[in-house]
């Protein structure tokens, strides 16, 4: 077999220097030395081995990589890890564990809000971020009057607000039911 194997070569076209970055993930500070090109998603999955956050498209088109940064949901595939020193990053692993589930995680189990489970961590992080947005009075595309001070969180509102999370298994109605359970629990 004549497989060519090659090692690092200095001054080649793609040379990079690693950058030091401290990420605060799920309350813990993690020191990393990263290629600046590393997305936050790959830093979580490939460097911190927090594989609960999923890569579905790597281009902001599916929502599987959703995490919470300073309480806001974002797509971790379209941001660089080095941009997030000083931020509080919360991933699915930081919400609850199999025997101590977060209420949203428990609601997903109860309502069967998933099938293959691959989009699920993203759906759950997104749902938590979404409820906070709704609580803060943010309108959505489904809101008839954006100028109104408050908006009732109807199913149509939840659907529109959750549309950045694709589920190819199409557990959609069950996901909505799970989120509604949590939202109603919050209210009452």
């Amino acid at each position: 077999m004549s497989l060519s194997t090659v090692g690092d070569t200095k001054n080649a076209e793609n040379a990079t220097e690693n950058a030091k970055v401290a990420l605060t993930v799920n309350g813990r500070v993690r020191q990393l030395e990263l290629d600046p090109r590393t997305s936050l998603l790959d830093a979580l999955r490939e460097h911190l081995h927090l594989t609960g956050t999923k890569k579905g498209c790597d281009h902001g088109q599916c929502g599987a990589c959703t995490v919470l940064i300073n309480g806001r949901r974002i797509n971790s595939c379209l941001t660089l890890a080095v941009m997030h020193a000083d931020d509080e990053i919360v991933t699915i692993e930081g919400l609850g564990s199999p025997d101590a589930l977060h209420p949203m995680q428990a609601a997903f189990v109860l309502r069967d809000g998933f099938q293959c489970g691959y989009c699920t961590p993203g759906q759950i992080c997104s749902a938590i971020g979404m409820l906070a947005e709704a609580k803060a009075g943010w309108p959505s595309h489904a809101t008839a009057d954006v100028a109104a001070q408050t908006t009732a969180l109807t199913d149509a509102e939840i659907r529109e607000r959750m549309s950045g999370n694709i589920c190819r298994c199409a557990a959609y109605p069950n996901i909505i039911a799970a989120i509604r359970d949590v939202a109603e629990g919050d209210r009452g």
Binding site: K54, Y118, D155
Partner: protein, 706 residues
Amino acid sequence: MATMTGQPINRIDGPLKVSGKATYAYEHWDVGEPLYGFIVGATIGKGRIVQIDTTGAERSPGVRMVMTYRNAPAQGPRDASIPSQYSRAYPMLSGPDIHHYGEPVALVVATTYEQARAAASLVEVEYAVLSGHFDFAKRLDKAYAPKAVNAGLATDSAVGNFDTAFKSADVKIDQVYTTPYQFSQPMEPHCCLAVPNGDDLTVYVSAQILAEAHTAIASTLKIDPLRIRLVTPYVGGGFGSKLGIHGETILAALAARALKEPVKIAMTRQQIFHLVSVRPATSQRVRLGAGRDGRLVALGHDVTMFTSPISEYAEQSATSARGLYAAPNRLTRHRLTALDLPRGEDVRAPGEAPGLHAFESAMDELAHALNMDPIELRILNEPKVHPEEGIPFSDRRLVECMREGARRFGWERRPAKPASVRDGRWLVGYGMAAAIRGQFQMTSKAKVRMGPDGIAVVQSDMTDIGTGTYTIVAQVAADALGVPLDRVRVELGRSDYPAGAGSGGSWGASNTCTSVHRACMALREKLRIGKIPAEGMEAEGEIAAMSEEPNYKNYSIFTYGAHFAEVGVDVDTAEIRLRRMLGVFAAGRILNAKTARSQLIGGMTWGVSSALLEDGTVDARTGAFVNRDLAEYLVPVHADIPEIDAILLDGFDGKANELGAKGLGELGNCGANAAVANAVFNATGVRVRDFPITLDKVLPALPREV
């Protein structure tokens, strides 16, 4: 006594999945730090590599290896005589010829993902371009008849004299429908982690059927299957696209063996469009001839679809029409025309999804022509025995599904006249369609071991791709053994477990559970006569393939359903949105009412998607799928899917197996698209036969509001 089976219990793997602790193929960190592979794809649709320069990539930092056809290890050839395409070898980088756009031309392996991806773009390839055939519509006249179609079904079928009967029928429908290229696109990209250990290899693979993947990998690598172990505890969706393995698995295995280190590769979302399966585009002529009373006298379904010239694949799209309605004169045919595109493979509900889309639309057209209710038309043509094979149905209940669905959906409120109901700016319409899907039985084995602690461990190489296998197996085992659910542990997804049938063709649940049931019954028998030794007591269960089971010859064993959809079409813009949908299904005994409903809802959503959104567009100049990402190839998002519900008729099909259970993973996706399409017609009076029905196709026929 059965108490667990059928219960809507929560998935037992649920807590792991919702907390991010379920590990998919790319995520096994216990094997150490892997190297990362990145695939370089061809940028032409047909031709030959004349020059390939890898020096830039090789010099790029972190790169450990660049593999091309010039240095790729010899691999087993693809053997078309092996009946299942998924068991065949899948050689990669085996020569300079390019058969389709995106075909791998190199693999770059580096220490980090970023390094591998960057170096991949430095591989320079010069091609000699050959003119390829990429335009389906232009190659329809080159169609030929394959020897058989998918699942070994007959290419053609004929009963009576179709031509004469159709010619003299009182009322005729003769229309051509076209369906586009579609893609499974599970959320977990196709990926693989290959870990060498001396001559042995552990492959963490995202696959639906481990036994076939195992055979395919071993015969490609030309190594003893016993040296290869597959591990697949979780699969992030498959929908047919992981029935077989693909390039990333073979390339990861080749690289890992060459470098003697773990290597992992995930396809990018864009690559998946060219490197995994595509559902063939079809052109379908449906001819229905009926008397004025609505009784069918002639029924014809002719399907032409594309095939890859190097790997023939014929979806069984005209086969649904063989069993759905009675008619004395019948003709169904499948034809293929070769195009230089990625190979066709199964996509959820192969055959039924495109076939029923056309056929059940034509039935709606006939009902309209007869001025009959579409349900009444179907009931009138309900056959007593299988209309082509003459054998009895094991368990049908299609009429019951339609009646029950009509009642629950409020079908009587369906606008009798198309384009007659408005709700604000929306034109509102109702549509329905029937669902039919074959039940398959494959060989399947399972093992159960009871330890002295009273815990039963069930093992099978079966996979859980989101179907709920872990849960239903535990339910069936608990009942068979007469133990509580928490005494059962289910272990799946390892090639060293007994070979189950895998997750495909909707057969996973019924086949696996029947073999598990038999294993448990055998163990019970052993337990009755003996005491459990320290190492535990074990028993196996097994089922034979349907070809060995007389019931599958003597009865027509299928699953059925009826879909009901209400859509709104914007009077100004022709935007089409689903308003609500209901499916009623008869699939024998239900193993878990909760997970079964989820499967069906998922399938129905796929129907909505194929009716209104999914459309793989080929650039006929290059053979490339142009809309190859999830921003351009549209699948439904939350906002597209309002109320959808699925009702399961309580049943038991003892002819299928002793559990009475049949498959339903695809049933929801059979005919759902036609129900939506028929609703669009009812809403607008516009019949679009070129699927999907996007607004640009409806708009010209909608009158301007002035």
